[in-house]
C-alpha cells in the first residue's frame, strides 16, 4: 500500500534537530565535531594504538626531538621526554585522563545536577528563589578555587580530583536547568498542557524537557571544557593526577624546567589540550549561535 498522506502536514523539526540542521551549515562546527569524534575514538582505543607503553623508558633516546626535526627519528614520532619516554604514546594514553575522566565527571554531575535543577524548576516560591540566590553566589566563586579547597581536604589523587570536579560542576547544571525550566514554565503551551490535566511528571519530561534540551547540550559542552581545563590545571599545579600518569597538565608541569632544552615536551601536550578544548568550545559556540537564531526567528 502506498503511503497515504492525504493532508499536507508541515513537520516542525524538534529543537535539537533544528540546532543540528543549523550546525551542519557551519563548516567549523562540523570540523570541530569530527575532531572531537576522532579524539574520542583515539581515547577509547588508546591502550591498543599506543606504539609503546607510556611508561617505558628508552635509555638510548633521552630528550629526542620529534621526527620532523633534523635529529629526529621516525621511531619516536613526537620525540621523547627527559626520561626517554615516547611522547606520542604518552599523549595518546593521556587522553584517558584529560578527556575520558572529564567526560565521566560531567556525566555524573549532569545526572545529579539536572535532577535537582528540574525539581527546583518545577517547584516555586521561597524554596526556589533561595536556591537561585545561593547558586548565584556559589557560581561567582571560580570552579578552580572550589576544586582546590576540596583537594586540600581530601588530598591530591586521581579519585579525589574526580570528586572535586564533579562537586564543582553540579551547581552549574542546577543553575542552567533551573533557569531554563523557569523560563518555559509559564509559556502558553505549558499552560495548555497543564489545563489538559497532564501530571507534573508528564509536563516535565514530555512537554518542557524537549524544549530545553538545547540548553542542556550547551551546558554539557561548557561543563566539559571547564572540567578538562580544571583537571589539567590541577595536574599542572601538582595537586591533581600524580606523575608518572601521562595526564596532559602534569606533563606540562614537568616540561616547565625543560622548556629551554626540549620545547616539544611543552608544545605537543599543550597542543593536544588546546585542540580538545578548542573543538569543544567551537561546538558550544555554534550551539549557542543556533539557539540565538532560533529564538530570533520565532
Amino acid at each position: 500500500m502506498r503511503n497515504a498522506s492525504i493532508y499536507f502536514q508541515q513537520r516542525e523539526p524538534s529543537p535539537l534537530r533544528q540546532i543540528w540542521l543549523h550546525m551542519n551549515t557551519n563548516p567549523y562546527a562540523v570540523a570541530a565535531l569530527y575532531i572531537l569524534g576522532i579524539l574520542m575514538v583515539i581515547m577509547v582505543f588508546s591502550p591498543l594504538i599506543t606504539p609503546y607503553s607510556p611508561d617505558q623508558q628508552f635509555a638510548d633516546a633521552i630528550s629526542h626531538p620529534p621526527s620532523w626535526h633534523d635529529e629526529g627519528e621516525i621511531r619516536f614520532l613526537f620525540g621523547t621526554d627527559d626520561l626517554g619516554r615516547d611522547l606520542l604514546s604518552r599523549i595518546i594514553a593521556g587522553s584517558v585522563y584529560s578527556l575520558g575522566y572529564p567526560i565521566l565527571a560531567v556525566a555524573i554531575a549532569a545526572t545529579i545536577g539536572i535532577t535537582i535543577g528540574a525539581w527546583a524548576g518545577m517547584s516555586s516560591g521561597v524554596q526556589s528563589s533561595t536556591l537561585n540566590h545561593m547558586l548565584d553566589v556559589i557560581l561567582s566563586i571560580p570552579s578552580l578555587l572550589m576544586a582546590l579547597v576540596i583537594i586540600a581536604i581530601l588530598g591530591p589523587a586521581l579519585h579525589n580530583v574526580m570528586i572535586a570536579i564533579t562537586l564543582v560542576l553540579i551547581p552549574q547544571f542546577i543553575h542552567s536547568v533551573h533557569n531554563a525550566i523557569y523560563d518555559e514554565r509559564y509559556k502558553e503551551y505549558v499552560t495548555a498542557s497543564r489545563l489538559n490535566g497532564c501530571s507534573r511528571w508528564y509536563l516535565l519530561t514530555r512537554v518542557i524537557f524537549p524544549n530545553i534540551t538545547t540548553v542542556v547540550v550547551m551546558q554539557l559542552t561548557l561543563a566539559l571544557s571547564t572540567a578538562i581545563l580544571d583537571i589539567a590545571a590541577l595536574g599542572f599545579l601538582g595537586l591533581g593526577v600524580q606523575p608518572p600518569a601521562p595526564e596532559w597538565g602534569t606533563m606540562l608541569a614537568r616540561s616547565l624546567d625543560q622548556v629551554y632544552l626540549s620545547p616539544w615536551t611543552m608544545v605537543l601536550p599543550g597542543m593536544a589540550l588546546f585542540l580538545t578544548i578548542l573543538s569543544i568550545n567551537v561546538l558550544g559556540d555554534s550551539i549557542r549561535t543556533a539557539i540565538h537564531e532560533r529564538v530570533r526567528s520565532v
Partner: protein
C-alpha cells in the same frame, strides 16, 4: 535604587556570613586537630594552646565555638601560619596588593582592547577583519592559561630574551614591601634609584599582565560585538541615521553607550575567571600574590594560611561581583526597572 542596593548588600552580608560558616567547618574537615588548623598553634606548645582553647571556647558547644571564631576573625586575629609562624592577617595585605595590581592592570587592558576590537569587528561585520578577529578570539579563548604562559615565556624570555620570567622585581633593588603592589611600593619608597627600579618592575610586569589579559580580552571582544550587533538593529539607531548624523557620532554617542550595558554586566564574571587564572599564572611567574600563597599553603598543609587566603579571595570576588551589579543597576535605569518589575 535604594531598595535594590540594600537588598544586594544584605545578600552580600549573608553570603559572607555563610562563607565564614563554611570556613569554620573546613577546620573540622581538614586532617588534624581543628584548633591547630584554626589558629596555627600546635598542641605541643602547651601554654599557648590552652590560651587558644580558651579564646576559641573549644571546651564548649560547636555553636559557641563558631561564635568565638567569628569574633576572632572580625578583630583581625586570623591565626598564625604553621610554617612561618607569622600572623596570617599581617601577611595577607602585601600578597593581596600584588594580586590586585596584576588583576587591575590585566582587567584594564582587556577592557580597553576588548571593547575596541569588538567595536571594530562589529563595524566590519562578515568582512575579513571581523572574521580574523573572531577566529583569533575563539582560538585564544581555548588556550589554557598555563600553556599560554609557557608559550609566551618560550617566545619572549627564552628565544628573544626581552624579559625576565620570575617574581616582581630584580632582588638587587631593595624596595620595602608596604602595599605589595610593586609600582606603588616604588612610588612610596625614597630610594635614589627609583626610575631604574620602576623600569625593572615594568619589565617584570608586562608579560604576566598580558597572559592574564588574554582570556577576559577574548570574551569581551565577543560580548561587545554581539551587543553592538543587537544595538545596531534598534529603532533609535535607524532614527539617528534618518536625522543624518555622522556615522562616527552614531557609533560613539548612540551605539556604544548602549552596547556597554551587557559588557558591564559580564565584568563580574570576567573578574572571577581572571581570578582563577591568576592562581595559576602567579605560580608560573613566581609572583608573590594571594594565588601562589594559597597554592603553596596547600602544598605545605598550612591550614590557617589556606583559610585566610580562601576567605580573602572569595570575599574579594563576591565584593567585586556585587559592586559590578550595583554599578550596572545604577548606571542603566532600564535594568533597574526590570529588576523592580520582577517583584
Amino acid at each position: 535604587m535604594i531598595y535594590y542596593s540594600l537588598r544586594r548588600l544584605f545578600l552580600l552580608v549573608i553570603t559572607l556570613w555563610l562563607l565564614t560558616i563554611f570556613i569554620f567547618l573546613l577546620n573540622y574537615l581538614f586532617p588534624g586537630d581543628p584548633l591547630t588548623n584554626m589558629t596555627g598553634i600546635r598542641s605541643g606548645d602547651e601554654f599557648a594552646y590552652q590560651i587558644a582553647r580558651q579564646a576559641y571556647a573549644f571546651d564548649q558547644s560547636i555553636f559557641s565555638q563558631y561564635w568565638h571564631f567569628l569574633e576572632q576573625l572580625l578583630i583581625g586575629n586570623w591565626g598564625q601560619s604553621l610554617v612561618t609562624e607569622r600572623p596570617v592577617f599581617d601577611d595577607i595585605l602585601p600578597v593581596l596588593g600584588a594580586t590586585l595590581e596584576l588583576s587591575i592592570l590585566a582587567m584594564l587592558i582587556s577592557l580597553v582592547f576588548g571593547v575596541g576590537l569588538g567595536l571594530y569587528a562589529s563595524l566590519n561585520l562578515h568582512r575579513t577583519a571581523d572574521t580574523i578577529i573572531m577566529g583569533i578570539s575563539l582560538s585564544t579563548y581555548s588556550i589554557p592559561v598555563f600553556w599560554l604562559a609557557q608559550l609566551l615565556i618560550l617566545l619572549f624570555a627564552v628565544k628573544l630574551g626581552w624579559t625576565p620570567i620570575s617574581s616582581q622585581i630584580n632582588p638587587l633593588f631593595d624596595i620595602e614591601v608596604v602595599t605589595g603592589s610593586i609600582l606603588t611600593d616604588i612610588a612610596l619608597s625614597d630610594v635614589p634609584y627609583r626610575a631604574a627600579a620602576f623600569a625593572d618592575a615594568l619589565n617584570h610586569l608586562w608579560l604576566p599582565v598580558i597572559v592574564l589579559a588574554v582570556m577576559p580580552l577574548t570574551m569581551l571582544i565577543r560580548i561587545t560585538r554581539d551587543a553592538m550587533l543587537d544595538v545596531l538593529q534598534k529603532n533609535y539607531i535607524r532614527a539617528a541615521r534618518a536625522r543624518g548624523l555622522s556615522e562616527a557620532r552614531i557609533m560613539l554617542r548612540h551605539g556604544l553607550p548602549n552596547a556597554m550595558q551587557p559588557v558591564v554586566r559580564q565584568l563580574g564574571l570576567q573578574f572571577s575567571i581572571l581570578m582563577s587564572n591568576i592562581i595559576i599564572a602567579e605560580m608560573i611567574f613566581n609572583w608573590p600574590g594571594i594565588g601562589s600563597w594559597l597554592v603553596k599553603s596547600i602544598y605545605e598543609r598550612d591550614y590557617p594560611v589556606l583559610q585566610g587566603g580562601l576567605l580573602t579571595l572569595a570575599a574579594l570576588i563576591l565584593l567585586v561581583n556585587v559592586l559590578v551589579e550595583l554599578f550596572h543597576a545604577w548606571h542603566y535605569p532600564q535594568v533597574r526597572k526590570e529588576l523592580y518589575a520582577e517583584r
